[in-house]
Symmetry: C2
Subunit: 327 residues, 2 copies
């Protein structure tokens, strides 16, 4: 049983009659009459964040992960509803630190809390569980879909890939980084940058988009499957930070290292497709939104994802992305 | 530290600039521009439902508890977003049973699932945690507020009070009921009836309304506090089911039993205020919606809630309602 089977087979039939639910293949839903885009993301201690992560950073990651879903669709965020289930013995100071993080990012992104529910587990071991429902307005060009890519479209990604995963490895002491690299990677893990300006600039230009939360390979697979095509990714083209470059250089096998980077989650970059005729417009959109964008491949005939080495041969990738029901 | 202090002191300031958040004193928020009412309720195994409760009933209670919030405001439900955190070892059959319950009540209430998030705890002991965000349209007369009651208004409640709490006691074998009574009380606990027709009929008529989820006394206190008044409740007038009547007759002290009934949660009836000049209209609204409505008291000068015996003397009530941070 996989997470995506459950969603497709058990929950998607419950959306019949709601076209704006997109059959649950997208991260957002559209309430067309109300001109509202809505997304809902859960975060659970020990699964989506480390139980020892500072709670103000957890709050900001919750906001940013949700905003990232809106960003990929070109939507403008307005506000959110928040549900918190605290461990039974939570201290008021912990809740206040969490709220301080919310306040900071509410100011950064000019959004407001609208309502929610605050409760506590029956036991001290009940893990902090957070649920946020964010809403915003769709771009006037319409939401950038997940499955709209055409044969021959270019595939692009913003920012750099794999840093959040390396940040998690650094925090868990699975690899030794320099102090500077560790700090920058940990920040990428704790505080993703939702690409709201870029997403808005891509509305009407990108044919398909998704935010990279499950990992580059997995999310490229989501675009490919939804579009009925194959995503061919040029491994050396995948944008890497200097810290990730140092990590790759320390690995035995460069190709395996690139495959690993592309399997890490939590990047919250935008992966999108656009026709080759639009390369200039993509460059303009990237510049206007002050966001680095890199062309990393294209949509070809077939299905799934191919990660290719410099000779065009396929690199074996072990990870197909994080699955909550396959651990 | 109490749940309501946390909401008022820590979270309410985060809604500044969002008038539709009602400073978090109501169970719903209004997105005015979008003409949308939104409510969000969490349910956690071991807190809001029994870990052994059949999962189709849990799903239906989740839907009904949320619909009850919309009902009290006179809103018409449209759909919902769902977040589920399953224990790590959940079986597919369990998720399917849960979805079957959702499907049943989606049909009953003509609503659709629009989106959400499905995830799993890191451990087998992580309790099933459910989060639902429901939305609907406000009545054209405007939402029935929580704090709009005026001095001298009558106080009414729909249906009967205390049955869900007795149902929980029956399921936990804390009191022995006849088989018939146990079944009817357990149903009241598992399957509340959101009073959607009554709520809609009361729009523009009731000056204040709330759904009774924390307990009659606690929720009367919410209306009283938000309205700057005192709720005086005539204990003998509180509507009781035959099963509750049997239970009261078996208790040593009738007044203490009535106070206990009024402290139980999970009734999901509508408690509302309306001016005495509107008694006829209230009767008409109750008839039109085929819902029993009982006048149980009035709003007086002062603060808090008084539960009064037949001589008008105050009955001591121990419960001030369920508080997730005071257990």
């Amino acid at each position: 049983m996989g997470e995506f089977d459950i969603i497709r087979e058990v929950f998607a039939p419950l959306t019949a009659g709601a076209p704006g639910a997109f059959n649950l293949i997208d991260d957002v839903a559209l309430l067309e009459q109300q001109n509202l885009v809505v997304t809902k993301d859960l975060m659970v201690a020990g699964v989506h964040f480390l139980p020892k992560d500072p709670l103000d950073l957890v709050a900001r990651k919750l906001i940013r992960a949700n905003l990232s879903d809106l960003a990929a669709k070109g939507a403008k965020p307005l506000g959110y509803f928040l549900g918190c289930v605290w461990p039974a013995n939570v201290k008021r100071e912990a809740i206040e630190l969490f709220a301080q993080g919310l306040r900071e990012d509410q100011e950064t992104y000019r959004i407001s809390l609208f309502g929610g529910d605050t409760t506590a587990h029956a036991t001290k071991t009940g893990p902090l569980t957070l649920s946020a429902t964010f809403f915003g307005t769709p771009p006037k060009q319409g939401l950038t879909p997940r499955g709209g890519a055409n044969l021959g479209d270019d595939l692009y990604v913003s920012g750099t890939i794999g840093d959040a995963g390396l940040g998690l490895a650094a925090l868990k002491k699975e690899f030794k980084f320099t102090t500077v690299d560790k700090a920058s990677l940990a920040t990428r893990y704790h505080l993703p940058e939702p690409r709201l300006s870029l997403g808005a600039a891509l509305a009407g230009l990108a044919t398909a988009a998704i935010d990279v939360s499950d990992g580059l390979i997995a999310d490229a697979g989501h675009i490919a499957n939804a579009s009925g095509l194959r995503a061919a990714i040029d491994a050396v083209a995948i944008p890497r930070s200097p810290a990730a470059g140092t990590w790759i250089a320390a690995q035995d096998n460069r190709w395996r290292a690139l495959a690993a980077l592309s399997g890490f989650g939590d990047d919250y970059e935008i992966l999108f497709a656009a026709p080759p005729s639009m390369r200039r417009s993509v460059t303009v959109a990237a510049k206007a939104s002050r966001t680095e964008v890199t062309r990393i491949g294209s949509l070809t005939r077939g299905a799934g994802v191919g990660l290719l080495d410099e000779r065009g041969a396929e690199i074996k990738t072990s990870s197909t992305g994080f699955d909550h029901f396959k651990r």
